[in-house]
């Protein structure tokens, strides 16, 4: 049997620790709520800005509808000009989850999961009490989210997102037909993977999915970040 050089082993261990996010956290069981669901509570941050920059990163080809391609190309050509987040507006779902420097806190309670964002002090609710979607959700920046458990996976679906939101900072557009599905999987104490599926037949010919990794930020305080705009100019009125 061929012996493996000791430094290889050491290197492998170091990489394994890196991949685990928080060293040693792997060994501990993922916490659970009294009803035995995984408890997603904690402060989380995206492992990188990769998907914030381009939600389709790693996907060979996202198949646009023609108008959506035109909007996307225009936004790219304009270098992201008129991006809503540049005007203190929410990035929307899923984009507001994706910024490396904007952690968010999950507060999991029976019937709802509340996500508190560092960015702009905003919050988002995912209702897990079995309610249906409203018949006619008005377009909003964060949409209306309902969630259910499939085994240890929280499956959150969001509709009612205003067409003003961008799916990422790169400018992937969407229509009022958008349905975002997020599958939250806390695979370890310090790690959560979320499969994000964009289903918008008006904008894309087929749904597409990426998996975004999030890391637990232990012993942290969410803090408060606010975004200020200049007051409206009365003289115009």
């Amino acid at each position: 049997m061929t012996s493996i050089p000791a430094r290889w082993i050491a290197g492998s261990i170091a990489i394994a620790l890196l991949l685990s996010g928080v060293g040693g956290a792997q060994e501990r069981a993922v916490p659970r709520t009294p009803d035995r669901k995984p408890d997603l509570s904690g402060i989380w941050r995206s492992a990188s800005n990769r998907y914030l920059t381009d939600l389709s990163a790693g996907i060979t080809r996202v198949s646009f509808q023609p108008w959506a391609r035109a909007v996307y190309e225009q936004r790219r050509a304009g270098n992201g000009k008129s991006r809503p987040s540049d005007r203190c507006l929410p990035r929307g779902v899923p984009s507001m989850m994706l910024a490396r420097d904007e952690p968010w806190k999950v507060v999991q309670t029976p019937g709802a999961i509340t996500i508190l964002f560092h960015e702009s002090l905003h919050y988002r609710q995912i209702f897990t009490d079995g309610r249906p979607f409203p018949d006619d959700p008005a377009p909003s920046w964060l949409g209306y989210s309902i969630g259910r458990w499939e085994g240890d996976t929280l499956v959150a679906e969001t509709i009612g997102l205003t067409e003003e939101t961008w799916l990422d900072e790169g400018g992937h557009p969407h229509s009022d037909a958008l349905r975002v599905t997020e599958r939250f999987r806390r695979g370890a104490v310090g790690r959560m993977d979320v499969d994000v599926t964009i289903d918008d037949p008006k904008a894309y010919t087929a749904p597409w999915t990426v998996t975004v990794r999030f890391e637990l930020v232990p012993n942290a305080d969410l803090g408060e970040q606010v975004c200020a705009v200049a007051p409206a100019d009365d003289s115009k009125n």
Binding site: V107, L121, A138, A230, P231, D234
Partner: protein
């Protein structure tokens, strides 16, 4: 259309009409006319239809709501309790009908309260009065801070957990955390608009102490000033299923010669959900001034 006076708010509000006794509204984007300067008191919002959608109200029946024989929520039933025996403040709350919305009236939240200003604060307060309260931070979509956020007509939701109480304000979609896990206030922390809040139970009262505020909070739309020396103590009491009372003690020796108290009452909004409201003042803004 019934108009809702929204004192001092130059921002767009998504609720433009309200019928007494009902939380009704239409999906509209409102523009405040004719301009923030003239909007300080009792203004009229001019609503522009942004969507053809008809008026709607999210009806979300809550199984835990006590009801009378005909199924109506029983708002005078006893306040619910958490498994550990504390009153459960959770629910969606709103200023009662008939209470002047906002806090931009002659005396703001201090109506009927004797407020002894320090000279510098009195000068600021007077100037704001003469200026029709122009310059309130929320004109720039900045957070209201505690008392001002509670004074608006838009509802808020309390989510009570054993170690943390959340206040989710519909207005601006801002959240606030109240830590009830016995922690100490951090010794070093950047000042914030909502401060750092810690709560303890005194019998059936949730007593919340908050410090660590930014230096230019407005306590109300009228313009009661506050400094970084501000400490707010809130006492939350859920009188029964449908009624919540919060007493605020404003203690800011740099601005006021003695602490003063304000009490606000709130009614439960049963069987519904918050509606998103985002400050969209940016639509008229020349540029963003800071993050």
């Amino acid at each position: 259309m019934t108009t809702v006076p929204h004192a001092g708010s130059a921002f767009a509000s998504r609720r433009c009409s309200a019928e007494p006794g009902l939380r009704t509204f239409e999906w509209r984007r409102c523009s405040a006319g004719p301009g923030p300067r003239t909007l300080a008191f009792g203004l009229v919002l001019v609503c522009v239809l942004a969507s053809p959608a008809v008026a709607q109200w999210l009806h979300v029946p809550q199984p835990a709501t006590p009801r009378t024989a005909d199924g109506t929520p029983d708002l005078t039933a006893p306040a619910p309790r958490t498994p550990d025996g504390k009153p459960d403040l959770s629910g969606i709350w709103q200023r009662p009908r008939g209470v002047p919305p906002g806090s931009g009236g002659t005396d703001g939240i201090a109506a009927g309260v004797e407020v002894l200003f320090q000279p510098s604060a009195e000068a600021v307060y007077k100037a704001r009065g003469e200026n029709n309260s122009k310059g309130t931070p929320s004109e720039r979509c900045l957070p209201h801070g505690i008392t001002k956020a509670f004074s608006v007509p838009e509802p808020f939701k309390i989510v009570q957990t054993p170690a943390l109480v959340l206040v989710l304000h519909e207005e601006f979609n801002h959240h606030r955390q109240i830590f009830t896990d016995g922690r100490r206030a951090p010794s070093r922390r950047a000042p914030t608009w909502f401060g750092y809040s810690r709560g303890t139970w005194e019998g059936d009262l949730l007593v919340v102490e908050t410090t660590g505020f930014v230096d230019d909070t407005w306590l109300d739309f009228r313009g009661h000033p506050a400094t970084d020396a501000l400490k707010i103590v809130e006492r939350y009491r859920r009188r029964d299923f449908g009624h919540l009372e919060i007493q605020f003690t404003i203690d800011d020796p740099k601005a006021y010669r003695q602490p003063w108290n304000v009490t606000m009452g709130f009614d439960l909004l049963p069987d519904t959900e918050l509606i998103e409201h985002i400050c969209e003042n940016e639509r008229d803004a020349a540029h963003i001034v800071g993050r």
